[in-house]
């Protein structure tokens, strides 16, 4: 009879936060509520990263997703809808069709990994992942690192170009 460790409790709590918030995102009627629910979901995923001993990724998740993307999304919501319209800004369409399909897909995916089919390595003691990632980024992943920086630059310029008003 395995012991229920503190780690397992933390996992359950974090998974519940993540999935509950994701449900909020998926089912809330108001877009602004969806946005705030997304915050919980992202927090939950960050917590799960920590449980998976990837502290650096967790921090990055918080910094970029919560601090960047989510703020961006909230701004987009504010910019594109009038405050009074909030109630009708997030209607669902075809949900009667979608729920069975999604449910079927979920069942199929879950069934595909049920059972003990993975090779699991021995547990290693916790080590901070920052130094590994730092080394990796400047050694074997240097080229992707540089490429992604160019992708970011392109995205930056691209969004400015798209948003720029046409000069008349």
């Amino acid at each position: 009879m395995p012991m229920i460790e503190l780690k397992d409790i933390a996992f359950i709590i974090l998974a519940l936060i993540t999935l509950g918030s994701a449900g909020g995102v998926a089912f809330s009627k108001k877009i602004i509520y969806s946005g705030f629910s997304l915050l919980g979901s992202l927090f939950g995923v960050a917590g799960l990263y920590i449980l998976l001993s990837n502290d650096f990724i967790a921090a990055t998740q918080l910094l970029i997703y919560v601090g960047g993307v989510l703020i961006l999304i909230l701004f987009a919501i504010m910019l594109t809808s009038k405050i009074g319209d909030i109630a009708v800004t997030n209607k669902s369409i075809n949900w009667k069709v979608a729920i069975p399909i999604i449910a079927g897909l979920a069942c199929f995916l879950i069934s595909s990994f049920s059972g003990d089919i993975w090779k699991v390595a021995d547990k290693t003691p916790y080590q901070s992942s920052v130094s590994f990632i730092g080394n990796a980024l400047l050694k074997e992943f240097l080229l992707p690192f540089e490429v992604i920086s160019i992708v970011l630059l392109c995205a930056l310029i691209g969004s400015i170009v798209i948003l720029k008003r046409e000069v008349k």
Partner: protein, 680 residues
């Protein structure tokens, strides 16, 4: 001082070029014409070089005889393999003599033009061409290598063309310019072929050079080289001489010069009497080492020269246009120069070039003055008794006429006598031709003077009304030139005559030019001094009697020439029409060329165009057939494809809702199908 001026020698050709640029830009800009500005620039551009040339002359005379040959390099120009030509000037006695003539007489004629062209609207254009001509002529004379000389050679041809056709709105004058240009092309072609042949042979001998100084030694390696059955040097010399006949109006290419009188009179004086036409003589002098190697070529030159002298002199009898008479006289005198070159009397040739430049320039300018006074009338039959109205013109004209006729002690006597003396030593026949031509010259020149200035007046009422002596800017050059025409001969007093008067080295010019020239190896046996004195007296007698005959025939006994003309109308007509040479050229060369052109045009129209049109017709038929196939089958296929696609589109467009979700459903459905097919 002289040395300082010598260091400025590069300004000599540069200033006229600069002047041409300034005046050219001025003419081109269309700004309001300010005559003093234009002629100040133009005069300065030729007079300053004259001063520099005088300085250079003094400097060179101060040098020892053997170092009187200075090469002044300006900047490198062509350097291709063994072909090395720099922009550099060769200053030696020969080129200095010519430079003095060009800049000196050029200055006088520029000054004269100020008065003569004072009513001309294209004033700036005129002086542009005149300065440009001086530039080209100076390059021709000063160039230290054949390419430079050739540039000048072509440059003077161009300026001559531009100036003959100066009043180009008159189609006859424009045609005269074209004639000069085309005839010169024939000569220039021979010249460049000759030069290239020389260069090519020298290269094969390993002595390739285009420098005159180096050529002098290099050509000695050509001794005995044969091309076919002729010696190569002879061929080269003859080709170059053909070039000279084009530029210097000798048989058979002299026809352009009389027509060239269509240009303004100062131009005729400068280009078609004093400078450009002597380029051929200069060229032979410059290349004397080459010509001296080929007695055969020299014989050809001498024969052509003396025959031209006689030939042109006879035409001179019958011409009534004052400028045409002078033009034929120029051809005749140029014939003398070539005759001198041909008998290897290079000094005599250059001497005659010099004196001829003086008296012929004076004669032309005088005729210009007459024409100016007569409001453009050029027919001497409509003149007469002008001496009272044009005293200065008359005096200078008369003195120059005596000079050209060869009366002692005017300049023409010395130069012509020296030529005849050398011709006598060479061949009695040539001498006879020369003397006959000299007599003829005296007669027709006096005929012209008499008809113009003496006898009874045949001037029309209206012209009489405007009759006036020319302004000072025109008479000063006349007087200077007349002075030179009278006393210029003392530069080359023959040794025998100098000896008679107890002078040593009396032939200054010969002594001066000696270093630049190379004479044939075998010297001709010279006849004795006694013979020379006799010949002198004889030719002087001939000249004087010629003058008297000319004077009497056209004043007192006008009936004699008229009756002669009536008695032998065919001969008169023949000579009057210049032996029909122009007509002959027209019939043989020009018309046949035009006929060839017509034939080629016809060939082009019928055969070439026929082939082209036939091809086009065949293409048209093929195109028609292929078009039918195209429309019926290919288009059918294409349209079928399009119809199928279009029908498919009608069905497929239903899926294109424009909603992201629809596409996502489809993608999801597809994934599910794949998954179930794969794992199901």
């Amino acid at each position: 001082m002289a040395e300082k001026l010598f260091s400025l020698i590069y300004l000599v050709p540069l200033l006229p070029l600069l002047g041409a640029f300034v005046n050219g830009a001025y003419a081109f800009s269309g700004a309001k014409l300010v005559r003093p500005f234009v002629h100040t620039i133009a005069l300065a551009a030729i007079f300053i070089p004259f001063l520099i040339t005088v300085g250079a002359f003094l400097h060179v005379t101060s040098l020892p005889e053997e170092s009187r040959q200075v090469v002044v390099t300006f900047f490198p120009w062509l350097d291709v393999g063994s072909f090395k030509a720099n922009v550099e000037f060769l200053i030696d006695p020969l080129s200095l003599t010519l430079m003095l003539v060009i800049t000196g007489i050029g200055s006088l004629i520029h000054l004269y033009s100020v008065g003569y062209m004072s009513h001309e609207p294209s004033y700036a254009r005129y002086f542009t061409y005149l300065n440009l001509f001086c530039f080209a002529m100076l390059i021709l004379v000063m160039g230290s290598n054949v390419p430079m000389m050739f540039i000048g050679w072509e440059g003077v041809g161009l300026c001559s063309y531009l100036l003959i056709g100066f009043w180009f709105t008159d189609s006859a004058k424009a045609a005269a310019g074209m004639k000069a240009f085309v005839v010169n092309r024939v000569g220039d072609f021979a010249f460049i072929v000759g030069f290239l042949l020389l260069y090519w042979t020298l290269q094969s001998k390993g002595h390739a050079t285009v420098q005159f100084v180096e050529l002098r030694n290099a050509v000695t390696h050509l001794d005995g080289v044969m091309l076919g059955s002729f010696s190569l040097v002879t061929i080269v010399c003859v080709l170059m001489f053909i070039g000279a006949t084009g530029k210097s109006a000798q048989i058979p290419l002299y026809v352009w010069l009389p027509d060239a009188m269509a240009g303004p009179t100062p131009v005729s004086a400068l280009i078609h009497a004093a400078t450009m036409v002597t380029a051929g003589v200069y060229m032979i002098g410059r290349m004397s080492y080459l010509f001296s190697m080929s007695p055969a070529a020299l014989n050809i030159i001498a024969t052509v020269g003396f025959v031209t002298a006689l030939f042109a002199a006879i035409i001179g009898f019958t011409q009534n246009d004052i400028k045409k008479v002078l033009a034929y006289s120029t051809v005749s005198q140029l014939g003398y120069m070539f005759g001198a070159m041909g008998v290897a009397a290079y000094t005599a040739g250059v001497f005659h070039l010099l004196t001829h430049a003086f008296f012929k320039a004076c004669l032309f300018l005088g005729s210009g003055s007459v024409i100016h006074a007569m409001s453009g009338e050029q027919d001497i039959q409509k003149m007469g008794a002008l001496r009272k109205h044009l005293p200065i013109t008359h005096a200078t004209f008369f003195l120059s006429t005596l000079a050209i006729a060869g009366i002692f002690p005017f300049s023409g006597f010395f130069s012509k006598d020296e030529i005849l003396w050398h011709a006598f030593n060479h061949s009695k026949l040539l001498w006879l031709i020369g003397v006959t031509a000299a007599a003829g010259t005296a007669v027709y020149m006096l005929r012209m003077v008499t008809l113009t200035f003496y006898g009874e007046s045949r001037v029309s009422e209206e012209a009489m009304h405007h009759l006036h002596e020319s302004p000072l800017s025109m008479t000063i050059p006349l007087m200077v030139l007349a002075f030179l025409a009278v006393f210029g001969g003392f530069l080359g007093v023959p040794e025998s005559l100098g000896h008679f008067f107890g002078l040593h080295e009396s032939n200054l010019l010969e002594h001066w030019l000696e270093p630049s020239l190379v004479f044939p190896k075998e010297a001709l046996p010279m006849a004795s001094h006694a013979t020379e004195y006799f010949l002198m007296v004889f030719s002087l007698g001939i000249a004087i009697s010629g003058c008297l005959i000319g004077f009497v025939l056209y004043t007192k006994r006008k009936d004699i020439p008229e009756s002669l003309a009536q008695k032998y109308p065919k001969v008169y007509e023949f000579i009057y029409n210049k032996y029909y040479v122009d007509e002959f050229y027209k019939a043989v060369f020009v018309n046949n060329l035009l006929r060839l052109n017509d034939f080629l045009a016809l060939f082009d129209q019928k055969v070439i165009d026929g082939i082209v049109n036939g091809t086009a017709y065949v293409t048209k038929i093929v195109a028609y057939v292929s078009g039918w196939v195209d429309r019926t089958f290919v288009d059918g296929l294409v349209n079928l494809t399009a119809s199928v696609t279009s029908f498919g589109g009608i069905i497929a467009r239903r899926f294109q809702t424009g909603r992201i979700q629809t596409y996502l459903y489809l993608a999801l459905g597809a994934i599910l199908v794949i998954v179930f097919y794969r794992f199901g």
